[in-house]
Amino acid sequence: MRTFFLFIRRSLSSRKLPTAVLFLSLTLSVALAGVVVLLSEATVASYQRSVEDLSSNTDLIVTLDETGLPESALDEILDLSEVDQAVPLIKLKIFFRRHGTQKKAILTLAGIDLLNEASVSGSNNRRVIPDPLEFMANPRSLAVTNSLGEEEDLKVGSEIVILTPEGERTLSVGALFEEKDFTDIFGSRLGIMDIEAARLLFKREGKIDQINVKLKDKSKLMETVGKIKLKLGDAVTVAPPSQLVNNLRSTLKPFQLILQGMAILAFLLVLYLVTNLGAIAIEERRREFGIMRAMGCPKLKLGLLVGSEYGFLAVTSAGLGATIALFASPYFGKALKRILGVQYGTSINIEARSIDPVIPYVIALVAVILVLLTMARSIFRIMDISPTEALSTVFESSGSGKRPSRIPLYLLLATLPVLFLELHPMFLTIPLVVLIWAGPYVIYHGLVFFRNHFPPAFRLPADYAVSRPDRLMTKLRGFFVGLLLLFVVHLVQSSFEMALQSRFVNTSRPDMFVTANGDLTSPFNLQPLHEALQLELAKIPEVTGVYGQRITKVRFMDKMLTLRAFDEVPPDNKKLKSPYSHFDIVDRLAADAGHDLYHKYPTGERDIAVLASETLKNLFNLKTGDSFELNSPKGKVTARIVGVIRDLSAGSGAIYMDRKSYKAFWEDELVSGIALTLTPEADEELVKKKIEDQFSESHGVVVTPDRKVRSDAMNVVTKGFSSLGIIEALILFVALVNFAATLLFEIKGRTREYGTLRSIGMPKFRLLRMVLLEAVLLLGPAMVLAYLASVPLSMRLITSGITISLGWFIGFHFDPWGILMLAGVSGVLIFLAAILPAMKASSVDVSEAMRAE
């Protein structure tokens, strides 16, 4: 064993650069994968733990979408003989600011029956609020979590200004409490107040968002669920708290998929690096292994020695990566919590106790196994090295001079048409794999075929390049696959960006929006305003149209769909013919579909016309003309799909409907935002100021001009894709390391040849130019081929692969200038990476090179 350690220590320390590159890459990729998986699991685990804590007090949770249950539901539940206790609560996200400041922040507000909710009013040591009765005496007081108090500098007695449907109202902080039990489920930014006070403030009279039900000891759970549904109708959701975890899981799925995809891609790139550096190591150390064999080292022992060297490197770097992941995840957890809050409106505390320390080490173990499997081929090749290699006097003779086969070329020609055929997307993997595999062969055979037609300056470098086919293939694989991945990632990114841009920018829109918070790009339920404000806004002379829109959620087959309801636009509004004209309608004529909702398909007794998002259509296999049932507070309602629209903001799908129909079935008079159109001569800034002067104080509104909405939307898109930049940088880094490492090794192996060229009179500069030209000869074709290959590949990935994985339909957008710029930058960087080896080659000491080895 000590012999193994001696070999490993000496071997790794004598090749510091490749060891450091491998160690660093593996550490970072395991750390990245570890953090991603750890937080993914910890998020759900934290939520689950909170839910389990809550379960001690609650057996069932009763809800009705986001619109809420009628107040009578509480009495009906309490009437059931199985029910021991039923506690109502109101919950909503609100914006607030400290009194005297302008900085806005967000909190989840829960209106709770302070006397009856066990977690709040339970035994003294578990009590959230010390004296609920005293607290309730002041209806304008709320209790906030300690961490919210710390973050926003709130103490008992501090005053905060909140936005309500009726304008700004001031509340005072009556208590601060620890985050535990019941409070865990809502996250750390939680405020609690009396349910009656909350109802009054937020126009939720007669509504309950959730009822927590505690059953009597011998009551049967499923039987009670049936009884509650029988009483309240099928529209209500009655489920044990554990069901909430499944909902969260499905909400987070697209987010987790993207993060995990990134981590897997990063890890695959590192494995690719391992493979290439492994292949280089064989060539570089061929003689060393030959000497070992000559000295009597058996094949198996040699394999074990080399395997343990890479195994040691993998174990230590993956172990370090896992440890980094473990220690870094709480910090990333805070960032993730912010992202989840903004992206999904899901404020979850990722607790340290929910971070499972085993997970990163399992990932590290998988990484070690994968590295060893990746290296297995190289290790077997090393074991096959003959002891006679030790006697070889010419270093270069050790390499394989075998000419690469032409079979990959024929296979590529045979499989390429699959990219252009309308086959099941699974077939995509065939040309994808063949393309990545065969690309370097195409370049090699192209070089061999054309080199005789090259100008003289290129002929010698071309001859050198093809004279060692095995090494040429190693370099080409590094280039080609790296560049191909780089281009594909860029094309996928630009297609996503264009799809989102077209949604926000290339459509007709109103002139300005009035909201309670100014944020129109967040997909979560915005703090609503009361529709009565629309009548006030309509009185402003410059305003020609006032159109409310409500954004909320509705349950459909265990998924939460986004429901968007819009006011009708009269045909005489020339600026905004229909609110639907600014949607990307893909299945019907935009104008027809827009008007259909109001005129051709008037709301019936039990049915409404809706536009369905492509995501919904794809996930539930629906099409224009189909109908499906939704549950509303008024019972079941049939939604008829009269058009399909493109909406990428709702992962589980969205439906668009007329707000008149929405109000009729969902009994909700709130609006999430109000769109305004102005007279052609109106001064936008003047109107904005007028509205803010008139309504900010009383209603707390924010007026956002359309151009600001567009720029905000683009900022969101840009920020959302910034993480892909890390992947692009990583790909480029791997390609650069591969290239520089292979070329440097090549220079070392060709010392004698370069010495010969110098001895017969080749000046240093020409030698340097020759090495650089060789790099150009490889780089140029690799870049052109990767460029050409990336287009059909990303086209099919976008149009089919993403539809299958995420349910999104995104048009392929070819960004020729962007990709040319990317190719240019990568080309320049790789060329620069070739300068160091070229300089080394040109500075070869002639006498030293010509000396016998």
Partner: protein, 226 residues
């Protein structure tokens, strides 16, 4: 096979393919080397000297014929047995020294013993003793890149002797050294070989080296001519 013979080769033939053609390098070599004998193999480039050395040293196997090394027929041995034979009973000295670049001088010398499963302290003690005998005790913790050509070759000699081999093989041991250093290295090699009672097979172009051997075998076009 004679009782005192350490190598008994009969009708050795060896070829390799060059493109589509097959070239025969050794064309029926018969050879016996006695215990304690020093034999020089000479001949022009391409005569098959190195290939013969590879086969006699169990680094390679003949296509035809048989080779018995210290009584063992190599053609019937597995890779494991061949490796054990090389490790325990044969020693090699190469023209380009062939020290492992990542190991120090003492580790290089001790390496065959470590490969054989010996403990590090025991192996390094023996290695240090040999380094002292070749006059390099003070350089034992230097890496090959820090040693001169002559010093590297002396380390290589110490490594070849560390397992007390019965047979030593040297491929142009002085070829990469200047004449003065080469002569010193050869003196050392012959002294150590004599004190161990081993046999030595040297491939060389140098007539001066050949003159100091008990017997000279001349090889031309894969055949022994004298």
């Amino acid at each position: 096979m004679q009782a005192s013979a350490v190598i008994h080769a009969q009708n050795i033939r060896k070829g390799h393919s060059q493109g589509e053609k097959s070239v025969e390098i050794l064309r029926g070599i018969d050879l016996i080397i006695e215990a304690g004998e020093t034999v020089a193999i000479m001949g022009p480039s391409g005569a098959g000297k190195s290939t013969l050395l590879q086969i006699l040293g169990a680094l390679n196997l003949p296509d035809n014929g048989s080779v018995k090394i210290l009584g063992q027929d190599t053609t019937g041995l597995s890779d494991k047995d061949l490796s054990a034979l090389r490790r325990q009973r044969l020693g090699f000295i190469f023209q380009s020294f062939n020290l492992l670049p990542s190991l120090t001088a003492v580790e290089n010398v001790a390496w065959p013993l470590l490969l054989d499963g010996k403990k590090i302290p025991e192996s390094e003690t023996k290695a240090k003793a040999l380094l002292e005998r070749v006059g390099l005790a003070h350089r034992s913790h230097h890496r090959p890149s820090e040693l001169s050509g002559g010093e590297q070759q002396r380390v290589a000699i110490a490594r070849a002797l560390v397992a007390d081999p019965k047979l030593l093989f040297a491929d142009e041991p002085t070829g990469a050294l200047d004449s003065k250093t080469g002569a010193l290295v050869l003196d050392l090699l012959l002294d150590l070989k004599t004190s161990l009672g081993s046999s030595l097979v040297i491939v060389t172009h140098d007539h001066g080296v050949a003159k100091r051997c008990d017997r000279v075998i001349n090889l031309i076009d894969g055949r022994i001519v004298s």
